[in-house]
Amino acid sequence: MTQAVPVSAEAPPAATPPELAPARRLRWLLGLGPLLALVVAAVLPYFRLPLPGILDGVFNSPGNLQLLATCLVFGGLAASYDLLFGRTGLLSFGHALYFAAGIYGTDVLVTRAGLPLWQAAVFALVGSTTLAALLGAIALRTAGIAFAMVTLAFAQVGAILVARDFGGLTGGEEGLPIGGAGLPDFLVGVANTVNLYWLALAYVAVVVFVVARVAGSPTGRVLAGLRDDERRVGVLGLDPYRYKLVAFTLAGGLAALGGIVYVLVVGGASPHVTSSELTLSLLVMVVLGGPGTRWGPVIGGILYMYLDNRLTNLATDLPGPLSQPLFVLGAIFILAVYFFPGGLASLATRVGPIRAAFTRRQPRTRS
């Protein structure tokens, strides 16, 4: 991932000299861009926009809103995974475990234990984050590829626990639809799908904000240092293990938060969220979008889920292997690794004029 981000992007922020004040004002305006996008995305459900070819029917039909909410959750989830992969250089194959812990934790506490949603969510979040800290503490004793294998093995335990249905808690293969007195009315029912959409949007905003803040902080600079050369960080007298554990725990917590939103969006848990395939998909999303960039992973996640969904719908018309969404996505991914190392986010840097604007914007990630 050495070419993912220009090194200059990770340079420490310098105080802006007075002669750069106009540039600074421009930067400030450009900084409003994401906020503007957020506002546009938030008001979109008020318009009955038909988008032929992209979505079936009008934009704000419940089905489309649910699809978009799912895409948004995965955008945020991919961004949380990028905190490990793109920012810290940790190749974890068990990120789906914390997502699934958030999903099943919330679902089981609401449906089986009858807790109110907010309590269940808090317990699930705290529990999953603790789990991430514990398992991270063990897995980080290894490095590189061994770390990838160990996280994969831990995630596999989650998959086994869910599939074997110990104590009849998880519903096994059937999954567990969320329900019960604990769910607030405004999150239940087809008419309220728009609230779920906003919830997913809020989740993406939170993840992007947190990841950007962390990446811009002194801790973030240490994480970037770990990604580039771990020994150098050690030589500086910092403890790489501790910083990696912080990143691992935080990413796990953000993934669990995504799980809590996801279980509400799809209305229940199904065992496929524990599969190793999901973590592999996260990796695909991040690499397609552009690892180590602010928007790349989000866009990659949204696009991947959208394509996955659309290709499944179109599948019946396509011949042979093209009828398998995973074949198409896997093939795109392999081509992307060869010909598009920086992912979608590098598109901007490949076009001259936009590149100028983009590089000027980069220091914003620090402030």
């Binding site: 061994a146 093995a153 990796l283 690499v287 398998q324 996505l329 896997g330």
Partner: protein, 296 residues
């Protein structure tokens, strides 16, 4: 007592399956630093090729010599596919480890989907030779012959691999490459040829695991390789990466533990114990049983 013998031998059968997958994985990782996610695909290729050959290849069939021919065809297919993957996909990304891993991830997703598109997602009944359906009495235990076949095959592969690594020139290059790749390259020896060979050997072993796994489970499905692969990863980490002997020890430990706990405890508990064993080994000895310092 009979239960004990039965569990031991079926556990060893499972261990044999893990070893066949893990040995190639471990060698490939040790030499080329590639964590090969597509290794499960080689297994599926071997299983499907054997299944296909038993019906279509002249002279092959589900019984006797016909099955040997079918399995041999599967093994050759696995080796060829693995060598092609190395030549076409891995080699252009020489020494860019993360990209190599990413490509195998993409390949594992696309490859399984391709198998699924061709033969459907449902398991297909596997042509099991008559002999493997029967049981052999050892003491007062009745052991399925399929388990015995797996144990024998894995022992043979282990012996052949060790002979190959210890007593041939290429084996020497591979062993030296696992120890220190830069030094071997500096001596003017082309390690890349060894990469292709190791991939082919690993692919052949995985394909054999696919063919015999088909006999053991009685069916083939596209996802079979993936689920075995995770336990093979665990075996590789416990055994120490790059060590074939370590993989053999670890495979036996994992197979027996899984079988015994699954029988005496709840089903599924054995799988969890295996991961607990992994955690313990990592805490006590991060480099694995037979491994030296783990490099990033």
């Amino acid at each position: 007592m009979s239960t004990f013998i039965l569990l031991t031998l079926t556990g060893l059968g499972l261990a044999a399956l893990y070893f066949l997958v893990a040995s190639g994985l471990s060698l490939v990782f040790g030499l080329a630093d590639v964590l090969n996610f597509a290794h499960g695909l080689f297994l599926s290729v071997g299983a499907y090729a054997t299944w296909w050959a038993a019906d279509h290849l002249p002279g092959a069939g589900p019984t006797g010599f016909g099955f040997v021919l079918a399995a041999a065809f599967g093994v050759v297919c696995g080796a060829v596919v693995a060598a092609l993957v190395e030549l076409v996909l891995i080699r252009p990304l020489y020494s860019r480890t993360i990209e190599q891993v990413l490509v195998t991830v993409g390949l594992s997703l696309a490859g399984v989907a391709l198998l699924q598109a061709t033969w459907g997602a449902d398991p297909r009944p596997f042509p099991r030779p008559e002999w493997t359906r029967r049981v052999t009495a050892i003491g007062d235990a009745h052991i399925p012959n399929a388990s015995l076949l797996l144990v024998l095959a894995a022992a043979a592969v282990l012996a052949l691999l060790l002979l190959f690594l210890r007593f041939t020139r290429v084996g020497l290059v591979i062993r030296a490459g696992v120890e220190n790749r830069e030094m071997v390259t500096a001596l003017g020896i082309d390690v890349r040829k060894a990469f292709t060979l190791v991939f082919a050997i690993g692919g052949a072993a995985a394909a054999l695991a696919g063919a015999l796994g088909g006999v053991y489970f009685g069916s083939v499905s596209p996802a079979q390789g993936g689920s075995l692969l995770i336990f093979a990863f665990i075996v590789v980490v416990i055994g120490g990466m790059g060590s074939v002997v370590g993989s053999a020890y670890a495979a036996v430990a994992v197979g027996l533990l899984q079988q015994f706990v699954n029988y005496y405890g709840t089903a599924g508990l054995g799988d969890i114990c295996v991961v607990a064993l992994l955690a313990i080994v990592l805490l006590v000895r991060p480099q694995g049983i037979a491994g030296r310092a783990v490099t990033a």
